[in-house]
Symmetry: C2
Subunit: 297 residues, 2 copies
């Protein structure tokens, strides 16, 4: 494996962020406050994991970055909307995200809700408009809109957030946590990967293995994220142990950090194994799994 | 004009409501509270104006109801999400909508926000999935997703709501109100009509005239709605004069009810005139404009 994963991540992150700025609306008054709030959260950093996975999946089957990039950014817009809404006072009531004040702490609750709504809705305009202008076949655009909206909606991410709120303070089993994680973060991660694959021209067989990769990766990522919350870390930017104080059910919270880390590493290896029939173009996907499954930053 | 408009409206309303129930998710616990909240607002009544306009526009160019119906319902899901979010404490802070408690009064703020998010997102799944299974060409599905998402997003409905909040308590001109109304309600009404037209197989020329119809109709509808708010009415289901107490800028609030009513009637006639080259299949659209432009219920 020749890809230098840290340099790959950093190059992709820059490309995604430049494109995101280009894709966001930038009107004159009086809508500018809404747009300012959209830009604030979009530019508030983050790993850009979902768009990078989308790009890497497209490259893995021979797609070019230019074609997939706006779609990858649209997925990041959907992820960002979900963070803005999750942080709201009536939800997780967080004042900090990635070390800076959350959207509603800066712009107020009404504008934060609307900024989330707008990012979600505009993401579909970006997919439809830029998908078309980038020459993606309309049938593929419809498939990825179906995959992404199903992953983000009541049977995916939003359902997972409702599930999570319902579980707060309750005793839960590992199965329930895996189900919640697969809805709340796994579904959109999977859709990022399958969308990238479809845009890159993946066969049905390749989509099948990309899904296997995505499922193992998604769970490994969530477990590692929850370990980081317990152990703290500079890049998390929120208070250490925030989940425990809110009595959020997490995987390492139940099995302990050591066991959870083992599971995350196993899942990462399972993700890599799913790509055994892919050539070296899938190396970034492979290294992403190993890097994030074992990350200790 | 042979269509009996009240019977047409009532038949279409029933068809839309039956299909909406079928399209909404209906899972087992623990997501059922989210889904209950989605159903609550979807089934809370309303004129179903946007889906009926979508169906009528499709019929006007020769489309069949069966093909357009799920898309029409998806637009109603987007409209319903916008009402749930507009009613939130940080927005308009309304306790009643159509005479019954608002979503957040019943389910709490967190679930209401998520129910809105889910209705918006699931609407795109419905368009992509049912559009495909109903045999609508993928290129047409992509066009209507682009039109609807642009009409609903930062440059349309969400932008209009942000604009409206920014204007509260301020002195505004008629131009500003027309711009706000065209964003907040006009854009999605226009997209309902053009989507229906595209699904029904409208030519570019027909889409042009459907847009002219939609713009005149949308403004007439908003003005009539604002007149009803001033004069009160059983079907509005909210306190008479709610806009005035909140100092919301409205068209009749500036020019007075009599003048506003004249303008609404003129706009309705303008809408009808836009359809002069359409045959009798466009009669429901024509009568809808005259009925709603002059409505006094």
């Amino acid at each position: 494996m020749k890809t230098n994963i840290e340099s790959y991540l950093s190059t992709m992150k820059s490309m995604v962020e430049s494109k995101l700025i280009e894709l966001l609306p930038n009107s004159a008054e009086p809508m500018s406050r809404l747009e300012e709030a959209m830009r604030y959260s979009i530019l508030a950093g983050g790993k850009r994991l979902r768009p990078i996975l989308c790009i890497a999946a497209s490259e893995a089957v021979g797609g070019t970055i230019e074609v997939v990039l706006p779609i990858a950014c649209a997925i990041e817009m959907i992820h960002t909307y979900s963070l803005i809404h999750d942080d709201l006072p009536s939800m997780d009531d967080d004042l900090l995200r990635r070390g800076i004040p959350t959207n509603h702490s800066v712009f107020g609750e009404a504008t934060a809700i609307l900024a989330g709504d707008a990012l979600l809705t505009d993401a579909f305009s970006v997919i439809a408009s830029h998908g078309t202008s980038n020459g993606i076949a309309p049938s593929v655009i419809v498939e990825i809109i179906r995959d992404i909206s199903m992953a983000a909606g009541s049977q995916g991410m939003v359902g997972g957030q409702a599930f999570d709120l319902a579980l707060e303070g309750k005793e839960v089993t590992l199965d329930v946590i895996e189900r919640m994680d697969s809805l709340k973060t796994g579904a959109l991660i999977e859709a990022s990967i399958t969308s990238g694959g479809r845009i890159g021209g993946a066969s049905d067989g390749e989509i099948y293995y990309l899904k296997r990769y995505a499922r193992a990766f998604g769970l490994a990522f969530q477990i590692t994220d929850d370990i980081l919350d317990i152990e703290g870390g500079v890049e998390v930017g929120k208070d250490r142990g925030a989940d425990a104080r809110k009595k959020k059910a997490t995987y390492p919270g139940i099995v302990g950090v050591e066991k959870a880390r083992e599971v995350a590493v196993e899942l990462s290896e399972k993700a890599v194994f799913a790509l055994k029939d892919f050539d070296e173009k899938a190396d970034p996907l492979r290294e992403l799994a190993l890097y994030l499954g074992g990350r200790k930053y």
